[in-house]
Symmetry: C2
Subunit: 226 residues, 2 copies
């Protein structure tokens, strides 16, 4: 990308990560840790292979990504974020939150990956009853099952099936997220094709509350002259 040529921190940030696909590559590496080239392609459906190679080279040069030649048993190159790359997490988290209201719309040809949903769940869900015994929720949607464990006030997300889930939800991601974020009740979710097995009370324990528009004021950041 052409530089904006502005002596401004935001512009300089965008000089580095403002290109198409770049932040999504960082998202993949932030969510999944070390990735092979092929993993990245799978997590970025639609990216042209030459673009992925280009972006990885640029990110490496900018010091956000490092490549590591994995030892003999694996024998493949792994890409991972450097500390400088990890520092983009606040940006990704904010974009996650800002974009959540847009998740109410799921276009028919939207690709779905469970680790994206897992990221959203991690940002949104909390354990409202730390004193209660741990509970486990299994979510079956996307390309692999997601396990949500609430214990001692913390919520942990794993991309695998649960051992003995207290509740299992299956169906399309959109109504399931609506249910977990408190936008739909169980009945409405069922109408949208969600099925469950187990104890629905788990929902009260971990449900997130949707960020309502916080009535931001219109005052500019910096007061202007006269």
């Amino acid at each position: 990308m052409r530089s904006y040529d502005e002596y401004c921190a935001i512009a300089k940030s965008l000089d580095v990560v403002g290109d198409r696909w770049t932040l999504l590559i960082v998202r993949e590496l932030a969510l999944r840790g070390g990735c092979r080239y092929t993993d990245l392609r799978n997590g970025l459906p639609g990216i042209a292979t030459n673009l992925l190679a280009d972006r990885l080279r640029e990110l490496e040069q900018a010091g956000l990504v490092a490549r590591e030649d994995a030892p003999p048993p694996i024998a493949t190159t792994l890409f991972h974020l450097t500390p400088r790359g990890q520092e983009l997490r606040p940006v990704l988290d904010d974009l996650f939150r800002w974009g959540l209201p847009l998740m109410t719309e799921q276009k028919p040809d939207d690709a779905v990956r469970s680790h994206w949903l897992a990221g959203a769940l991690e940002v949104m869900l909390t354990d409202h009853s730390p004193e209660q015994p741990p509970v486990a929720l299994e979510v079956r949607t996307g390309d692999q099952p997601i396990t949500v464990e609430a214990a001692d006030g913390d919520v942990r997300i794993r991309l695998s099936a649960a051992e003995n889930p207290d509740l299992t939800l299956s169906g399309d991601p959109q109504p399931i997220l609506g249910l977990l974020f408190g936008l739909r009740d169980l009945e409405a979710a069922q109408t949208a094709g969600v099925t469950y097995e187990g104890d629905p009370a788990v929902l009260e324990r971990i449900r997130g509350s949707f960020p309502s528009l916080s009535a931001a004021d219109y005052t500019p950041r910096v007061s202007l002259p006269s």
Copy 2:
């Protein structure tokens, strides 16, 4: 921009604000409040006029920007952020912070605008001595003077000259920021052409501390299967 077609909050955010120039337009409106078309052009040096018009239309459609036909005395259209647009402030703030280390390099053809620097100062400076009487600093660089007032633990930034500044700094923006962010001492700043008038002790009062790389760990956000 073409949609990424991903059911992911970050991708959906970038579908809206991921285009070239878009976030910088939001930056302008966030920093300066209501802007005329011409103000925006001045704050976005190098943007093609048709692109600015396109982006404003897209932002309006997406509900982030509203245009307002100002009453007779002004007789011009003003653009401002809607509440939904204001909600991007956390994203802008994080990009501000992430990009600060890049400000150590000032390319010869980088444009400079005081309100960008004011944004950086607002994010970075704090009043370390709330119990002390208020102090005022005037910074002379960029296209207009900046006033930094520290009082009662708060720091306020204005884009205008100070009444009776306790300290005035003049020179290139890069060494001045270095000085204010604690990367240079006064002597080093002077070597880089910064001049001052008044009491340098003001610096101790408001100086920001530079975000050192916080040794982020490499653990992925979501644990992977097996």
